[in-house]
Protein backbone atom coordinates (compact mmCIF):
# COMPACT_ATOMS: atom_id res chain seq x y z
CA UNK A 1 0.00 0.00 0.00
CA UNK A 2 1.24 3.43 -0.85
CA UNK A 3 2.40 5.09 2.38
CA UNK A 4 1.07 8.44 1.20
CA UNK A 5 -2.42 7.18 2.11
CA UNK A 6 -1.35 7.24 5.75
CA UNK A 7 -0.59 10.92 5.37
CA UNK A 8 -4.13 11.54 4.15
CA UNK A 9 -5.39 9.58 7.15
CA UNK A 10 -3.18 11.64 9.48
CA UNK A 11 -4.46 14.89 7.99
CA UNK A 12 -8.04 13.63 8.33
CA UNK A 13 -7.55 12.66 11.98
CA UNK A 14 -5.90 16.00 12.71
CA UNK A 15 -8.80 17.86 11.12
CA UNK A 16 -11.34 15.81 13.08
CA UNK A 17 -9.44 16.62 16.26
CA UNK A 18 -9.18 20.33 15.49
CA UNK A 19 -12.87 20.51 14.56
CA UNK A 20 -13.72 18.70 17.78
CA UNK A 21 -11.82 21.24 19.86
CA UNK A 22 -13.73 24.03 18.17
CA UNK A 23 -17.26 22.60 18.40
CA UNK A 24 -17.43 20.44 21.53
CA UNK A 25 -18.27 21.83 24.96
CA UNK A 26 -17.05 19.27 27.46
CA UNK A 27 -13.50 19.97 28.62
CA UNK A 28 -12.67 16.26 28.71
CA UNK A 29 -13.87 15.76 25.14
CA UNK A 30 -11.94 18.84 24.07
CA UNK A 31 -8.89 17.36 25.65
CA UNK A 32 -9.41 14.02 23.92
CA UNK A 33 -9.62 15.87 20.62
CA UNK A 34 -6.25 17.50 21.36
CA UNK A 35 -4.84 14.03 22.01
CA UNK A 36 -6.26 12.91 18.68
CA UNK A 37 -4.38 15.78 17.03
CA UNK A 38 -1.14 14.73 18.72
CA UNK A 39 -1.63 11.14 17.61
CA UNK A 40 -2.40 12.24 14.07
CA UNK A 41 0.97 13.99 14.16
CA UNK A 42 2.55 10.74 15.34
CA UNK A 43 1.06 8.87 12.39
CA UNK A 44 2.38 11.52 10.01
CA UNK A 45 5.83 11.39 11.63
CA UNK A 46 6.06 7.62 11.35
CA UNK A 47 4.89 7.70 7.74
CA UNK A 48 7.43 10.35 6.81
CA UNK A 49 10.05 8.33 8.63
CA UNK A 50 9.33 5.46 6.24
CA UNK A 51 9.24 7.71 3.18
CA UNK A 52 12.61 9.21 4.02
CA UNK A 53 14.16 5.98 5.23
CA UNK A 54 15.55 7.48 8.44
CA UNK A 55 14.51 6.87 12.01
CA UNK A 56 14.11 10.47 13.23
CA UNK A 57 10.35 10.42 12.82
CA UNK A 58 9.91 7.28 14.89
CA UNK A 59 12.07 8.70 17.68
CA UNK A 60 10.05 11.92 17.66
CA UNK A 61 6.85 9.86 17.95
CA UNK A 62 8.16 8.39 21.21
CA UNK A 63 8.89 11.86 22.54
CA UNK A 64 5.39 12.94 21.57
CA UNK A 65 3.87 10.08 23.53
CA UNK A 66 5.79 11.12 26.65
CA UNK A 67 4.81 14.75 26.19
CA UNK A 68 1.17 13.74 25.68
CA UNK A 69 1.27 11.69 28.87
CA UNK A 70 2.69 14.65 30.82
CA UNK A 71 0.02 16.87 29.32
CA UNK A 72 -2.70 14.45 30.47
CA UNK A 73 -1.41 14.67 34.05
CA UNK A 74 -1.48 18.45 34.13
CA UNK A 75 -4.68 18.78 32.11
CA UNK A 76 -6.73 16.32 34.11
CA UNK A 77 -5.53 17.92 37.36
CA UNK A 78 -6.83 21.30 36.18
CA UNK A 79 -10.07 19.95 34.71
CA UNK A 80 -10.83 17.85 37.80
CA UNK A 81 -10.24 20.80 40.13
CA UNK A 82 -12.60 22.94 38.05
CA UNK A 83 -15.16 20.13 37.97
CA UNK A 84 -15.08 19.76 41.74
CA UNK A 85 -15.67 23.48 42.14
CA UNK A 86 -18.45 23.89 39.60
CA UNK A 87 -19.84 20.37 39.22
CA UNK A 88 -19.60 20.81 35.47
CA UNK A 89 -16.91 20.18 32.91
CA UNK A 90 -18.54 22.35 30.26
CA UNK A 91 -16.25 25.03 28.94
CA UNK A 92 -19.25 27.28 28.34
CA UNK A 93 -19.76 27.51 32.11
CA UNK A 94 -16.29 28.85 32.77
CA UNK A 95 -17.19 32.37 31.72
CA UNK A 96 -16.59 34.66 34.69
CA UNK A 97 -14.20 36.76 32.62
CA UNK A 98 -15.52 38.42 29.52
CA UNK A 99 -14.40 41.28 27.36
Amino acid sequence: MNPVNYLYLAALLFTIGATGVLVRRNAIVLFMCVELMLNASNLALVTFSRLHGNLDGQIIAFFTMVVAAAEVVVGLAIIVSVFRTRHSASVDDTNLMKL
Binding site: V4, A27, V34, L45, R50, L51, I60, I78, N95, L96
Partner: protein, 551 residues
Protein backbone atom coordinates in the same frame (compact mmCIF):
# COMPACT_ATOMS: atom_id res chain seq x y z
CA UNK B 1 6.35 8.89 -3.68
CA UNK B 2 8.26 5.63 -3.83
CA UNK B 3 10.02 4.01 -0.92
CA UNK B 4 13.71 3.25 -1.36
CA UNK B 5 14.39 -0.49 -1.28
CA UNK B 6 17.18 -0.13 1.23
CA UNK B 7 14.82 1.24 3.79
CA UNK B 8 14.06 -2.02 5.55
CA UNK B 9 17.64 -2.50 6.57
CA UNK B 10 17.11 0.25 9.08
CA UNK B 11 14.85 -1.68 11.38
CA UNK B 12 15.48 -5.26 10.35
CA UNK B 13 18.88 -6.84 10.61
CA UNK B 14 20.09 -10.28 9.60
CA UNK B 15 20.58 -12.46 12.67
CA UNK B 16 24.04 -13.51 11.63
CA UNK B 17 25.45 -10.03 11.29
CA UNK B 18 28.08 -8.87 13.75
CA UNK B 19 26.86 -6.82 16.69
CA UNK B 20 26.92 -3.14 15.93
CA UNK B 21 27.84 -0.54 18.48
CA UNK B 22 26.04 2.74 18.84
CA UNK B 23 28.48 5.58 19.50
CA UNK B 24 27.94 7.31 22.83
CA UNK B 25 26.51 10.77 22.33
CA UNK B 26 28.89 13.54 23.26
CA UNK B 27 27.35 16.00 25.70
CA UNK B 28 29.13 19.26 26.53
CA UNK B 29 27.94 19.58 30.11
CA UNK B 30 29.83 22.83 30.67
CA UNK B 31 28.05 24.59 27.82
CA UNK B 32 24.67 23.33 28.95
CA UNK B 33 25.33 24.37 32.55
CA UNK B 34 22.78 27.25 32.67
CA UNK B 35 19.96 24.81 31.95
CA UNK B 36 21.45 22.06 34.10
CA UNK B 37 21.73 24.41 37.09
CA UNK B 38 18.09 25.43 36.80
CA UNK B 39 16.78 21.90 36.25
CA UNK B 40 18.98 20.68 39.11
CA UNK B 41 17.46 23.31 41.39
CA UNK B 42 13.99 22.21 40.25
CA UNK B 43 14.68 18.56 41.06
CA UNK B 44 16.20 19.53 44.43
CA UNK B 45 13.13 21.62 45.13
CA UNK B 46 10.87 18.59 44.54
CA UNK B 47 12.99 16.56 46.97
CA UNK B 48 12.83 19.36 49.52
CA UNK B 49 9.07 19.42 49.12
CA UNK B 50 8.95 15.68 49.80
CA UNK B 51 11.32 15.41 52.75
CA UNK B 52 11.53 18.72 54.60
CA UNK B 53 9.02 19.52 57.36
CA UNK B 54 6.43 22.08 56.34
CA UNK B 55 7.81 24.96 58.42
CA UNK B 56 11.26 24.76 56.82
CA UNK B 57 10.12 24.54 53.20
CA UNK B 58 9.57 28.21 52.42
CA UNK B 59 13.10 29.39 53.14
CA UNK B 60 14.66 26.20 51.76
CA UNK B 61 12.78 26.58 48.48
CA UNK B 62 13.76 30.23 48.12
CA UNK B 63 17.38 29.31 48.83
CA UNK B 64 17.41 26.45 46.32
CA UNK B 65 15.70 28.52 43.62
CA UNK B 66 17.98 31.51 44.10
CA UNK B 67 21.09 29.33 44.17
CA UNK B 68 20.05 27.66 40.91
CA UNK B 69 19.27 30.97 39.21
CA UNK B 70 22.43 32.71 40.36
CA UNK B 71 24.44 29.67 39.27
CA UNK B 72 22.75 29.75 35.88
CA UNK B 73 23.44 33.46 35.46
CA UNK B 74 27.10 33.03 36.37
CA UNK B 75 27.30 30.16 33.88
CA UNK B 76 25.79 32.33 31.14
CA UNK B 77 28.23 35.17 31.84
CA UNK B 78 31.21 32.78 31.93
CA UNK B 79 30.14 31.16 28.64
CA UNK B 80 29.73 34.58 27.03
CA UNK B 81 33.13 35.69 28.37
CA UNK B 82 34.71 32.55 26.92
CA UNK B 83 33.52 33.65 23.51
CA UNK B 84 30.61 31.29 22.95
CA UNK B 85 28.48 34.29 22.07
CA UNK B 86 30.78 35.14 19.18
CA UNK B 87 33.66 33.25 17.64
CA UNK B 88 33.21 29.96 19.52
CA UNK B 89 29.46 29.72 18.93
CA UNK B 90 28.53 26.17 18.02
CA UNK B 91 25.99 23.39 18.45
CA UNK B 92 26.18 21.39 21.69
CA UNK B 93 24.60 18.09 22.70
CA UNK B 94 24.86 16.41 19.27
CA UNK B 95 23.35 19.40 17.48
CA UNK B 96 20.32 19.73 19.73
CA UNK B 97 21.24 22.95 21.52
CA UNK B 98 22.79 26.04 19.99
CA UNK B 99 25.25 27.87 22.24
CA UNK B 100 25.46 31.21 20.45
CA UNK B 101 24.91 34.91 20.97
CA UNK B 102 21.11 35.06 20.86
CA UNK B 103 20.84 31.96 23.07
CA UNK B 104 23.13 33.34 25.74
CA UNK B 105 21.64 36.85 25.63
CA UNK B 106 18.09 35.53 25.99
CA UNK B 107 19.09 32.99 28.62
CA UNK B 108 20.70 35.74 30.66
CA UNK B 109 17.56 37.85 30.31
CA UNK B 110 15.26 34.97 31.28
CA UNK B 111 17.36 34.09 34.34
CA UNK B 112 17.27 37.71 35.54
CA UNK B 113 13.50 37.82 34.97
CA UNK B 114 13.21 34.61 36.98
CA UNK B 115 15.23 36.10 39.86
CA UNK B 116 12.90 39.08 40.06
CA UNK B 117 9.84 36.81 39.72
CA UNK B 118 10.96 34.49 42.51
CA UNK B 119 11.32 37.58 44.70
CA UNK B 120 7.70 38.39 43.90
CA UNK B 121 6.54 34.82 44.57
CA UNK B 122 8.27 34.90 47.97
CA UNK B 123 6.37 38.00 49.14
CA UNK B 124 4.45 37.26 52.36
CA UNK B 125 3.76 40.72 53.79
CA UNK B 126 0.85 41.79 51.62
CA UNK B 127 -1.85 39.34 52.68
CA UNK B 128 -3.13 39.56 56.27
CA UNK B 129 -1.68 36.82 58.44
CA UNK B 130 -3.60 33.62 59.03
CA UNK B 131 -5.46 33.07 62.31
CA UNK B 132 -2.44 31.28 63.76
CA UNK B 133 -0.22 34.21 62.87
CA UNK B 134 1.58 32.44 60.04
CA UNK B 135 2.59 34.76 57.18
CA UNK B 136 0.67 34.17 53.98
CA UNK B 137 1.69 34.45 50.32
CA UNK B 138 -0.25 34.99 47.09
CA UNK B 139 -0.91 31.31 46.47
CA UNK B 140 -3.70 28.98 47.57
CA UNK B 141 -3.01 27.24 50.88
CA UNK B 142 -3.81 23.90 49.30
CA UNK B 143 -4.61 23.95 45.62
CA UNK B 144 -6.47 20.62 45.64
CA UNK B 145 -9.16 21.86 48.02
CA UNK B 146 -12.46 23.12 46.63
CA UNK B 147 -12.77 26.93 46.94
CA UNK B 148 -14.93 27.87 49.94
CA UNK B 149 -14.94 24.35 51.38
CA UNK B 150 -14.15 23.36 54.95
CA UNK B 151 -10.99 21.65 53.75
CA UNK B 152 -9.74 24.94 52.32
CA UNK B 153 -10.57 26.82 55.53
CA UNK B 154 -8.77 24.26 57.63
CA UNK B 155 -5.76 24.36 55.32
CA UNK B 156 -5.71 28.16 55.57
CA UNK B 157 -6.07 27.99 59.36
CA UNK B 158 -3.14 25.59 59.61
CA UNK B 159 -1.00 28.06 57.67
CA UNK B 160 -0.32 25.70 54.76
CA UNK B 161 1.45 27.22 51.78
CA UNK B 162 1.91 25.98 48.21
CA UNK B 163 5.69 26.06 48.25
CA UNK B 164 5.58 23.87 45.13
CA UNK B 165 5.43 27.10 43.14
CA UNK B 166 9.21 27.41 43.39
CA UNK B 167 10.12 24.05 41.81
CA UNK B 168 7.34 24.58 39.24
CA UNK B 169 8.83 27.96 38.38
CA UNK B 170 12.28 26.41 38.08
CA UNK B 171 10.99 23.81 35.62
CA UNK B 172 9.31 26.54 33.61
CA UNK B 173 12.51 28.61 33.62
CA UNK B 174 14.54 25.58 32.53
CA UNK B 175 12.22 25.03 29.58
CA UNK B 176 12.39 28.71 28.70
CA UNK B 177 16.19 28.60 28.71
CA UNK B 178 16.11 25.65 26.34
CA UNK B 179 13.40 27.02 24.03
CA UNK B 180 15.32 29.87 22.32
CA UNK B 181 18.49 27.73 22.27
CA UNK B 182 16.87 24.66 20.70
CA UNK B 183 18.57 23.85 17.45
CA UNK B 184 16.20 21.18 16.26
CA UNK B 185 12.44 21.20 16.14
CA UNK B 186 12.08 18.20 18.47
CA UNK B 187 14.08 19.92 21.24
CA UNK B 188 12.04 23.03 20.58
CA UNK B 189 8.75 21.13 20.97
CA UNK B 190 9.86 19.41 24.18
CA UNK B 191 11.10 22.73 25.61
CA UNK B 192 7.78 24.35 24.67
CA UNK B 193 5.92 21.74 26.69
CA UNK B 194 8.40 21.79 29.57
CA UNK B 195 7.84 25.48 30.12
CA UNK B 196 4.12 25.50 29.34
CA UNK B 197 2.93 22.72 31.63
CA UNK B 198 4.21 24.29 34.90
CA UNK B 199 2.74 27.64 33.81
CA UNK B 200 -0.73 26.09 33.36
CA UNK B 201 -0.52 24.86 36.96
CA UNK B 202 0.87 28.14 38.34
CA UNK B 203 -2.11 29.96 36.84
CA UNK B 204 -4.53 27.88 38.93
CA UNK B 205 -2.92 28.62 42.29
CA UNK B 206 -4.24 32.07 43.31
CA UNK B 207 -5.21 32.42 46.96
CA UNK B 208 -8.04 34.86 46.32
CA UNK B 209 -10.61 34.72 43.52
CA UNK B 210 -9.86 31.06 42.99
CA UNK B 211 -12.71 30.55 40.53
CA UNK B 212 -11.15 33.13 38.23
CA UNK B 213 -7.77 31.55 38.70
CA UNK B 214 -9.01 28.05 37.85
CA UNK B 215 -10.89 29.43 34.88
CA UNK B 216 -7.70 31.07 33.65
CA UNK B 217 -5.82 27.80 34.02
CA UNK B 218 -8.45 25.82 32.10
CA UNK B 219 -8.50 28.35 29.27
CA UNK B 220 -4.74 28.59 29.09
CA UNK B 221 -4.35 24.84 29.22
CA UNK B 222 -6.92 23.94 26.55
CA UNK B 223 -5.81 26.64 24.14
CA UNK B 224 -2.13 26.00 24.88
CA UNK B 225 -2.49 22.28 24.22
CA UNK B 226 -4.42 23.08 21.02
CA UNK B 227 -1.66 25.36 19.80
CA UNK B 228 1.13 22.93 20.65
CA UNK B 229 -0.74 20.24 18.70
CA UNK B 230 -0.52 22.62 15.73
CA UNK B 231 3.18 23.09 16.39
CA UNK B 232 3.66 19.33 16.44
CA UNK B 233 1.79 18.73 13.19
CA UNK B 234 3.81 21.52 11.62
CA UNK B 235 6.94 19.78 12.86
CA UNK B 236 5.75 16.54 11.24
CA UNK B 237 5.13 18.27 7.92
CA UNK B 238 8.51 20.02 7.95
CA UNK B 239 10.13 16.70 8.79
CA UNK B 240 8.25 15.22 5.87
CA UNK B 241 9.52 17.97 3.58
CA UNK B 242 13.15 18.06 4.71
CA UNK B 243 13.73 14.57 6.12
CA UNK B 244 15.35 16.15 9.15
CA UNK B 245 14.28 18.35 12.04
CA UNK B 246 17.61 20.09 12.68
CA UNK B 247 17.55 23.82 12.01
CA UNK B 248 20.65 23.67 9.82
CA UNK B 249 19.40 20.64 7.90
CA UNK B 250 16.06 22.30 7.17
CA UNK B 251 17.81 25.47 6.02
CA UNK B 252 19.96 23.43 3.62
CA UNK B 253 16.97 21.60 2.15
CA UNK B 254 14.92 24.79 1.86
CA UNK B 255 17.70 26.63 0.04
CA UNK B 256 18.42 23.59 -2.12
CA UNK B 257 22.00 22.98 -1.03
CA UNK B 258 21.33 19.63 0.65
CA UNK B 259 22.60 16.40 -0.92
CA UNK B 260 19.69 15.14 -3.01
CA UNK B 261 18.27 11.71 -2.24
CA UNK B 262 15.40 10.00 -4.04
CA UNK B 263 13.08 10.50 -1.08
CA UNK B 264 14.03 14.17 -0.79
CA UNK B 265 13.47 14.66 -4.51
CA UNK B 266 9.94 13.36 -3.99
CA UNK B 267 9.00 15.39 -0.93
CA UNK B 268 10.60 18.67 -1.98
CA UNK B 269 8.86 18.54 -5.35
CA UNK B 270 5.79 19.97 -3.66
CA UNK B 271 6.06 23.12 -1.54
CA UNK B 272 2.72 22.46 0.18
CA UNK B 273 4.40 20.45 2.93
CA UNK B 274 6.89 23.25 3.57
CA UNK B 275 4.42 26.12 3.55
CA UNK B 276 1.65 24.42 5.55
CA UNK B 277 4.23 23.10 7.98
CA UNK B 278 5.79 26.52 8.49
CA UNK B 279 2.36 28.08 8.95
CA UNK B 280 1.48 25.53 11.62
CA UNK B 281 4.78 26.04 13.45
CA UNK B 282 4.00 29.74 13.28
CA UNK B 283 0.57 29.20 14.86
CA UNK B 284 2.22 27.46 17.82
CA UNK B 285 4.79 30.22 18.32
CA UNK B 286 2.49 33.18 17.69
CA UNK B 287 0.08 31.73 20.24
CA UNK B 288 2.82 31.77 22.86
CA UNK B 289 3.80 35.38 22.11
CA UNK B 290 0.15 36.40 22.13
CA UNK B 291 -0.09 37.83 18.62
CA UNK B 292 -3.47 38.56 17.03
CA UNK B 293 -5.37 36.40 15.93
CA UNK B 294 -4.00 33.96 18.50
CA UNK B 295 -4.32 36.35 21.43
CA UNK B 296 -7.74 35.42 22.83
CA UNK B 297 -6.32 33.69 25.87
CA UNK B 298 -4.07 36.56 26.96
CA UNK B 299 -6.46 38.91 28.79
CA UNK B 300 -8.34 36.15 30.62
CA UNK B 301 -5.21 34.33 31.71
CA UNK B 302 -3.40 37.51 32.73
CA UNK B 303 -6.42 38.60 34.74
CA UNK B 304 -7.12 35.29 36.44
CA UNK B 305 -3.61 34.13 37.27
CA UNK B 306 -2.00 35.20 40.55
CA UNK B 307 -0.40 38.59 39.82
CA UNK B 308 3.23 37.58 40.48
CA UNK B 309 2.71 34.66 38.08
CA UNK B 310 1.19 37.01 35.51
CA UNK B 311 4.29 39.18 35.67
CA UNK B 312 6.55 36.19 35.21
CA UNK B 313 4.44 34.76 32.39
CA UNK B 314 4.05 38.07 30.57
CA UNK B 315 7.78 38.71 30.49
CA UNK B 316 9.61 35.38 30.42
CA UNK B 317 7.26 33.54 28.05
CA UNK B 318 7.46 36.38 25.58
CA UNK B 319 11.26 36.42 25.69
CA UNK B 320 11.53 32.65 25.20
CA UNK B 321 8.90 32.47 22.47
CA UNK B 322 10.32 35.39 20.49
CA UNK B 323 13.76 33.84 20.80
CA UNK B 324 12.52 30.61 19.27
CA UNK B 325 10.60 32.52 16.58
CA UNK B 326 13.74 34.41 15.64
CA UNK B 327 15.80 31.25 15.41
CA UNK B 328 13.18 29.49 13.34
CA UNK B 329 12.68 32.34 10.87
CA UNK B 330 16.29 33.55 10.67
CA UNK B 331 18.20 30.26 10.89
CA UNK B 332 15.85 27.60 9.49
CA UNK B 333 13.62 29.37 6.97
CA UNK B 334 15.54 32.30 5.50
CA UNK B 335 15.10 30.54 2.13
CA UNK B 336 11.36 31.19 2.11
CA UNK B 337 11.44 34.73 3.49
CA UNK B 338 9.27 35.92 0.63
CA UNK B 339 6.57 33.47 1.64
CA UNK B 340 6.37 34.11 5.38
CA UNK B 341 7.12 37.83 5.42
CA UNK B 342 3.81 39.09 3.97
CA UNK B 343 1.88 36.91 6.41
CA UNK B 344 3.85 38.26 9.37
CA UNK B 345 3.26 41.78 8.06
CA UNK B 346 -0.46 41.19 8.39
CA UNK B 347 -0.09 39.58 11.81
CA UNK B 348 2.10 42.43 13.09
CA UNK B 349 -0.27 45.14 11.86
CA UNK B 350 -3.31 43.35 13.30
CA UNK B 351 -1.52 42.75 16.60
CA UNK B 352 -0.46 46.36 17.06
CA UNK B 353 -3.80 47.84 16.04
CA UNK B 354 -6.10 45.40 17.84
CA UNK B 355 -3.97 45.40 21.00
CA UNK B 356 -3.84 49.18 21.21
CA UNK B 357 -7.48 49.82 20.34
CA UNK B 358 -9.09 47.21 22.59
CA UNK B 359 -6.87 48.31 25.48
CA UNK B 360 -8.56 51.70 25.37
CA UNK B 361 -11.86 50.16 26.50
CA UNK B 362 -10.48 48.17 29.42
CA UNK B 363 -11.47 48.89 33.01
CA UNK B 364 -9.26 46.36 34.80
CA UNK B 365 -5.58 47.08 35.33
CA UNK B 366 -4.48 43.51 34.65
CA UNK B 367 -6.54 43.27 31.46
CA UNK B 368 -5.21 46.66 30.41
CA UNK B 369 -1.65 45.40 30.83
CA UNK B 370 -2.61 42.22 28.96
CA UNK B 371 -3.80 44.16 25.91
CA UNK B 372 -0.76 46.38 26.17
CA UNK B 373 1.37 43.22 26.08
CA UNK B 374 -0.46 42.18 22.90
CA UNK B 375 0.35 45.55 21.32
CA UNK B 376 3.98 45.17 22.38
CA UNK B 377 4.09 41.72 20.76
CA UNK B 378 3.17 43.55 17.56
CA UNK B 379 5.99 46.08 18.00
CA UNK B 380 8.47 43.27 18.55
CA UNK B 381 7.15 41.49 15.45
CA UNK B 382 8.07 44.53 13.34
CA UNK B 383 11.67 43.94 14.43
CA UNK B 384 11.38 40.24 13.58
CA UNK B 385 10.10 41.10 10.10
CA UNK B 386 13.13 43.30 9.43
CA UNK B 387 15.08 40.14 8.56
CA UNK B 388 18.49 41.74 9.04
CA UNK B 389 21.12 41.76 11.78
CA UNK B 390 19.80 45.02 13.20
CA UNK B 391 16.41 43.34 13.51
CA UNK B 392 17.81 40.58 15.70
CA UNK B 393 19.68 42.94 18.01
CA UNK B 394 16.70 45.30 18.22
CA UNK B 395 14.38 42.44 19.18
CA UNK B 396 16.84 41.17 21.78
CA UNK B 397 17.13 44.64 23.29
CA UNK B 398 13.36 45.23 23.21
CA UNK B 399 12.70 41.93 24.96
CA UNK B 400 15.14 42.77 27.76
CA UNK B 401 13.73 46.27 28.19
CA UNK B 402 10.06 45.29 27.97
CA UNK B 403 10.26 42.36 30.36
CA UNK B 404 11.57 44.41 33.28
CA UNK B 405 8.95 47.10 32.78
CA UNK B 406 6.28 44.38 32.81
CA UNK B 407 7.65 42.74 35.94
CA UNK B 408 7.75 46.08 37.73
CA UNK B 409 4.23 47.07 36.63
CA UNK B 410 2.67 43.79 37.80
CA UNK B 411 4.62 44.02 41.08
CA UNK B 412 3.06 47.44 41.69
CA UNK B 413 -0.39 45.96 40.94
CA UNK B 414 0.10 43.50 43.84
CA UNK B 415 0.54 46.42 46.27
CA UNK B 416 -2.75 48.23 45.70
CA UNK B 417 -5.23 46.31 47.82
CA UNK B 418 -8.54 46.45 49.62
CA UNK B 419 -10.43 43.97 51.79
CA UNK B 420 -11.04 41.63 48.84
CA UNK B 421 -7.38 41.36 47.84
CA UNK B 422 -5.89 43.30 44.97
CA UNK B 423 -8.00 46.22 43.79
CA UNK B 424 -7.55 45.80 40.06
CA UNK B 425 -10.54 47.81 38.84
CA UNK B 426 -9.25 51.04 37.32
CA UNK B 427 -11.85 53.23 39.07
CA UNK B 428 -10.37 52.10 42.40
CA UNK B 429 -7.02 53.57 41.38
CA UNK B 430 -8.42 57.09 41.17
CA UNK B 431 -6.42 59.52 43.26
CA UNK B 432 -3.75 57.01 44.14
CA UNK B 433 -1.13 59.65 43.44
CA UNK B 434 -2.43 61.81 46.29
CA UNK B 435 -2.59 58.95 48.75
CA UNK B 436 0.74 57.24 48.01
CA UNK B 437 2.78 59.36 45.62
CA UNK B 438 5.77 57.02 45.51
CA UNK B 439 3.84 53.94 44.34
CA UNK B 440 1.82 55.97 41.86
CA UNK B 441 4.97 57.65 40.51
CA UNK B 442 6.63 54.26 40.07
CA UNK B 443 3.62 52.92 38.21
CA UNK B 444 3.53 56.08 36.11
CA UNK B 445 7.18 55.52 35.18
CA UNK B 446 6.39 51.99 34.02
CA UNK B 447 3.40 53.23 32.03
CA UNK B 448 5.55 55.90 30.37
CA UNK B 449 8.08 53.20 29.50
CA UNK B 450 5.27 51.11 27.95
CA UNK B 451 4.23 54.17 25.99
CA UNK B 452 7.80 54.69 24.79
CA UNK B 453 8.54 58.14 26.22
CA UNK B 454 12.21 59.17 25.82
CA UNK B 455 14.59 58.51 28.71
CA UNK B 456 12.82 55.24 29.44
CA UNK B 457 13.82 51.82 28.12
CA UNK B 458 10.59 51.61 26.11
CA UNK B 459 11.69 54.47 23.87
CA UNK B 460 15.10 52.96 23.14
CA UNK B 461 13.49 49.59 22.37
CA UNK B 462 10.81 50.99 20.09
CA UNK B 463 13.30 53.20 18.30
CA UNK B 464 15.56 50.21 17.69
CA UNK B 465 12.84 47.93 16.25
CA UNK B 466 11.28 50.64 14.11
CA UNK B 467 14.69 51.66 12.80
CA UNK B 468 15.49 48.06 11.90
CA UNK B 469 12.11 47.64 10.20
CA UNK B 470 12.50 50.89 8.26
CA UNK B 471 16.00 49.99 7.10
CA UNK B 472 14.60 46.76 5.63
CA UNK B 473 11.99 48.65 3.65
CA UNK B 474 9.01 48.01 5.91
CA UNK B 475 8.12 51.69 6.18
CA UNK B 476 4.31 51.17 6.14
CA UNK B 477 4.73 48.84 9.10
CA UNK B 478 6.66 51.52 10.98
CA UNK B 479 3.93 54.07 10.27
CA UNK B 480 1.26 51.72 11.63
CA UNK B 481 3.53 51.05 14.60
CA UNK B 482 3.96 54.72 15.42
CA UNK B 483 0.23 55.38 15.04
CA UNK B 484 -0.72 52.53 17.34
CA UNK B 485 1.95 53.68 19.78
CA UNK B 486 0.12 56.98 19.88
CA UNK B 487 -3.20 55.21 20.56
CA UNK B 488 -1.50 53.15 23.25
CA UNK B 489 0.05 56.27 24.80
CA UNK B 490 -3.48 57.64 25.18
CA UNK B 491 -4.62 54.94 27.56
CA UNK B 492 -1.36 54.85 29.49
CA UNK B 493 -1.59 58.59 30.03
CA UNK B 494 -5.26 58.19 30.96
CA UNK B 495 -4.28 55.94 33.86
CA UNK B 496 -1.65 58.46 34.97
CA UNK B 497 -4.21 61.27 34.84
CA UNK B 498 -6.64 59.12 36.82
CA UNK B 499 -4.03 58.47 39.49
CA UNK B 500 -2.78 62.03 39.89
CA UNK B 501 -5.55 64.39 38.85
CA UNK B 502 -8.69 62.93 40.36
CA UNK B 503 -9.83 62.95 43.96
CA UNK B 504 -9.19 59.83 46.00
CA UNK B 505 -12.29 57.85 46.92
CA UNK B 506 -13.03 57.66 50.63
CA UNK B 507 -13.39 53.86 50.46
CA UNK B 508 -10.41 53.58 48.12
CA UNK B 509 -7.78 50.87 48.29
CA UNK B 510 -4.78 51.06 50.56
CA UNK B 511 -1.23 50.54 49.42
CA UNK B 512 0.32 47.67 51.33
CA UNK B 513 3.88 48.02 52.53
CA UNK B 514 5.81 45.18 50.90
CA UNK B 515 8.68 43.21 52.33
CA UNK B 516 12.20 43.60 50.99
CA UNK B 517 11.42 41.02 48.27
CA UNK B 518 8.83 42.98 46.32
CA UNK B 519 10.58 46.25 47.11
CA UNK B 520 13.76 44.87 45.52
CA UNK B 521 11.81 43.59 42.52
CA UNK B 522 10.22 47.00 41.90
CA UNK B 523 13.50 48.80 42.48
CA UNK B 524 15.23 46.55 39.95
CA UNK B 525 12.43 47.25 37.49
CA UNK B 526 12.87 51.01 37.94
CA UNK B 527 16.66 50.74 37.68
CA UNK B 528 16.59 48.73 34.45
CA UNK B 529 13.87 50.95 32.96
CA UNK B 530 15.87 54.12 33.62
CA UNK B 531 19.25 52.50 32.94
CA UNK B 532 18.27 51.15 29.52
CA UNK B 533 16.51 54.43 28.80
CA UNK B 534 19.33 56.82 29.68
CA UNK B 535 22.30 54.69 28.62
CA UNK B 536 21.00 52.31 25.97
CA UNK B 537 24.24 52.30 23.95
CA UNK B 538 26.03 49.71 26.05
CA UNK B 539 23.15 47.26 25.96
CA UNK B 540 22.38 47.91 22.31
CA UNK B 541 26.03 47.16 21.62
CA UNK B 542 25.80 43.97 23.69
CA UNK B 543 22.66 42.90 21.81
CA UNK B 544 24.34 43.77 18.53
CA UNK B 545 27.33 41.55 19.36
CA UNK B 546 24.98 38.75 20.32
CA UNK B 547 22.92 38.77 17.14
CA UNK B 548 24.46 36.00 15.05
CA UNK B 549 22.75 32.62 14.97
CA UNK B 550 24.73 29.42 14.62
CA UNK B 551 23.22 26.51 12.75
Amino acid sequence: MSVPDTVHSLWTVAASSTTQTIPTPHIEYGQLSPMLAVFGAAALGILAEAFLPRRNRYWAQIGIAMAGLVGAFVAVVVLAAQGYAGTKAHLAAMGAVAVDGPSLFLQGTIVLIAVVSVLGFAERHLEPRSSTGAPVDAFAPQAATVPGSDAEKSAARSGFATTEVFPLTMFAVGGMLLFPAASDLLTMFVALEVFSLPLYLLCALARRRRLLSQEAAVKYFLLGAFSSAFFLFGLALIYGYAGTVSIGGIADVVSGTATPTPALANTTANDALLLIGLAMLGVGLLFKVGAVPFHAWTPDVYQGAPTPVTGFMASATKVAAFGATLRLLYAAFPGVTWDWRPVLWGVAILTMVVGAIIAVTQTDVKRLLAYSSIAHAGFILTGVIAMNKAGVSAVLFYLGAYSFVTLGAFAVVTLVRDAGGEATHLSRWAGLGRRSPLVAATFALFLLAFAGIPLTSGFAGKFAVFQAAASSGATPLVIVGVLSSAVAAFFYIRVIVLMFFSDPRPDGPTVAVPSAFTATAIALGVLVTLGLGILPQYFLHLADQASVFVR
